[in-house]
Symmetry: C3
Subunit: 359 residues, 3 copies
């Protein structure tokens, strides 16, 4: 790419320049990092206030701030657009020459069962293993070490990054992304305790991941004991998340890193879990509820509520308790002092009421 001027870049994203349109823009970077020949973006008003301290040559700003006083005397050149983040990503793509899509086809170094069916325009890298009766849709990328067990079904436009593992009988919808070393369909943690030993309960179910899900690196989704473990459409799981056997997640959930769900947890749509949340078995998380970081959940969570802490409570209640708990050492002191005062008072009053002493 030739080095564009700010004016040229702005033209491509339908932006309106205020400042030096002839400035050469050589890259794009975050607000704190951008230099004099780089462009950045301000996502919100807070960012706009940081503009004066930025070394950025130019900044993408939402149109509605055009006449805002916060921009008075802003140092970088400004480009007003409808959506600064979108515009920024478009520009970023120009500077980061991401290599185009590959047309690798099916590597002769992949091992693919004769009974598997591979859709058109897939890239199947060396070291991929595809077992019997697998069906892979169109335009899928299977990176080195991806393992697809017997009878798996994968939709169109899926990506399995290196060493992603689908045990037998895992089903992916369309446009599902499985990151490296994510493990789908391993046996659930199910045993019967008999004669002093744990006896394995066969895990005869499967896993279904619906359209548009993304599964993070080293996340694990166990197969159902009976029936399916389900991840609903559009749900996103971050790295190192654990989904136990027979969980059924609704649509458009988002679970941050290291969240763990025990067996048979169910969730409504639009549930959000911050990092390291843990949920006990058979709990239901209601539609649209939110769980704060490290929350520990033992009971069903009603629709739309936000719960935090361990044991989890509704957010406002928990905040009040945490705040008050910080005062417990003082309270303890105050309580002891009060006891002493009451003791003293009691003696005084006893003297006052004691028959025939003074009065």
């Amino acid at each position: 790419m030739n080095v564009p001027t700010l004016g040229q870049l702005a033209g491509r994203i339908l932006g309106e320049v205020r400042g030096d349109a002839a400035l050469e823009i050589r890259g794009a970077a975050a607000l704190r990092k951008a230099g004099p020949h780089e462009i950045t973006f301000a996502g919100d008003e807070k960012h706009l206030r940081l503009l004066d301290d930025s070394r950025a040559g130019a900044c993408l700003v939402q149109r509605r701030f055009r006449d805002d006083r916060v921009l008075n005397g802003a140092r970088p050149a400004l480009v007003f657009v409808d959506d600064p983040q979108d515009a920024f990503i478009a520009i970023l793509r120009e500077f980061r020459t991401v290599p185009g899509p590959r047309t690798l086809g099916v590597s002769p170094n992949a091992i693919i069962s004769g009974s598997a069916s591979i859709g058109p325009d897939c890239n199947i890298y060396p070291g991929v293993f595809v077992d019997d009766n697998v069906v892979v849709g169109a335009r899928c990328d299977l990176y080195p070490g991806a393992y697809i067990g017997r009878d798996c079904k994968i939709g169109d436009d899926c990506i399995l990054y290196p060493h992603a593992v689908l045990y037998a009988d895992v089903r992916l919808g369309n446009r599902v992304i499985v990151h490296a070393s994510a493990i789908l369909g391993a046996d659930g943690f199910g045993y019967r305790f008999r004669n002093g030993r744990f006896e394995k309960i066969p895990q005869l179910g499967w896993v279904e991941v619906e359209d548009d899900c993304e599964i993070g690196a080293c996340a694990t989704i166990d197969r159902g004991m009976i029936g399916a473990t389900v991840v609903g459409e559009g749900t996103k799981l971050d790295n190192l998340v654990m989904i136990g056997h027979n969980c059924e997640l609704g649509k458009h959930n988002a679970f941050a890193s290291q969240v763990g769900l025990a067996g048979s947890v169910t969730t409504g749509d639009y549930v959000r879990c911050a990092g390291q949340v843990g949920v006990a078995d058979h709990v239901h998380l209601g539609r649209g509820c939110t769980l704060g970081a490290k929350a520990g959940i033992h009971k069903d969570i009603p629709e739309g509520e936000t719960h935090i802490g361990y044991p989890a409570r509704p957010e406002q209640e928990q905040l009040r308790i945490v705040m008050a708990t910080g005062k417990v050492p003082e309270m303890r002191k105050a309580l002891r002092e009060l006891e002493v005062r009451v003791e003293k008072l009691t003696r005084l009053v006893q003297q006052l009421t004691a028959p025939g002493v003074e009065s």
Copy 2:
């Protein structure tokens, strides 16, 4: 399989039918999921009470409930058996035509050192790597990407799922299952801090996993610094569990997902940890103790006790504290009110005792 009648199925599991023995049974499913031509099972009394709401065609029930009023008017046909779960699993196996065991032998696409010894009737898939002086017992399955480092010893009837990794010198007993991307024998997290830098302490020990253990997907068991990290017979570790260097776990422990043990933790037999428990280094968990979800353990736990919370305390004590802590905001208010009352009272009493005012 031809579609069996309920009577035919019941015959195979020595069950006694109450209801329509001619009903065609086309599948098996969980209580909430089963349809009119499916069979389910009721594990306990709670399940029996749900029977009326179930759409199931038939249900396996324990014999001792045969005359129980809870079954009065139960909608599904009933099959009385000694152990409903066992019977259900037997039936499930009939419906889920799990492919039989393979006789793959040793794939020519596996890389196996000339000095390794492989027992009879193993299945070694393409992409397996077996290093020098490894000994593998009889009837083991090593899936694609399984990596066995130098001098490892693996017993009979073990399964290593895809990308399971044994660093050098790891020893597995018989019937050990290692799930996908579980990592055994990586270096312990041991450094000396010298001259402003962390200096690696060589991790010269090894890992021993005894008979009948199961290690979850993406679990990690570090090698000892000196000597062995040990996982005792029959112990089960769920996905994403971390066992630090030189830990020594007793027999028949069960640790749920995302549990973490720092270095040199020891445990007795029959220890159970719920999900996301963390245990500090050198702690001993006594035989038969239980740790609740997310418990944080800094001290030895006595035999047989149940501890919960963070910092962990004995269960009853912790429950009392958690309950009371929820009242701290009210307590704080009550304490302040009481202070005001005592202040007022003090003034009143002072007036009463003040010399020569009224009395």
Copy 3:
């Protein structure tokens, strides 16, 4: 190795023997484990006190304890040295005949792009995948299943254990160790919520891991959304650690297992996190601060401070609160009793002050 005498071993490590120099030493083990023909070491005074109970034949002890009373009548033979741990490791290496370095070269069963550049004296195992434009320095070991994406740069003397994954554009300094199934450069967890769905924000940044870092098994370090996720020189991450996108870690940090950092966390040098710590996005951890096990961090931590608990507070404050919180049930009881007493007292005083009743 011929079986050495204690005197011979001591000579090699410049130690001074007190006891039977002719004792044959056949191995080295930890204090609790060593037998009559094994040597152990005592790291500190606490260990010295355990010497009498040890079955060890000999023990390495620091010279400054030579005249200490704690050694009076110690059973094992003693060897006085400057640094018992160093001496022990040296001896351990003699007994554990660790196989020498390999000169495997580049395996014909590795897949290496024609545009990749591999430095001298590397060991590249079968099943390694190296993509276009990758640069690998000298003397690197890439174990089976290591995956190096496009445009990655790896310095000298690095080790990538089995199934370590570098997505495109990851840069490693010199002497970096990446353990098995650690995943560097997967997409950050970044979405925009629009029209009822999560829309993926392209993650166009990269990952930089500086010299002398060690990354644990199944740890994950996400690529930046814009710009780099950085792990500073000499920083050590244990197994199953999660580093979110655009985090920037300082030098010589040490994070124990299962620690999770959300996006854009920054840290100074010498930061230490114990196991299972969680840090919210955009938080700064000041130079030299320490976070206790399971701490949950939502605010910046000042330089040098130690914070513990959830929500995290300065250590002394938190300990006071935890201690006091344990007393809340008693406090509640005491408060209720006090209320009763004050109520009674109030009535008494009211009687005393009531006009024209008795006085």
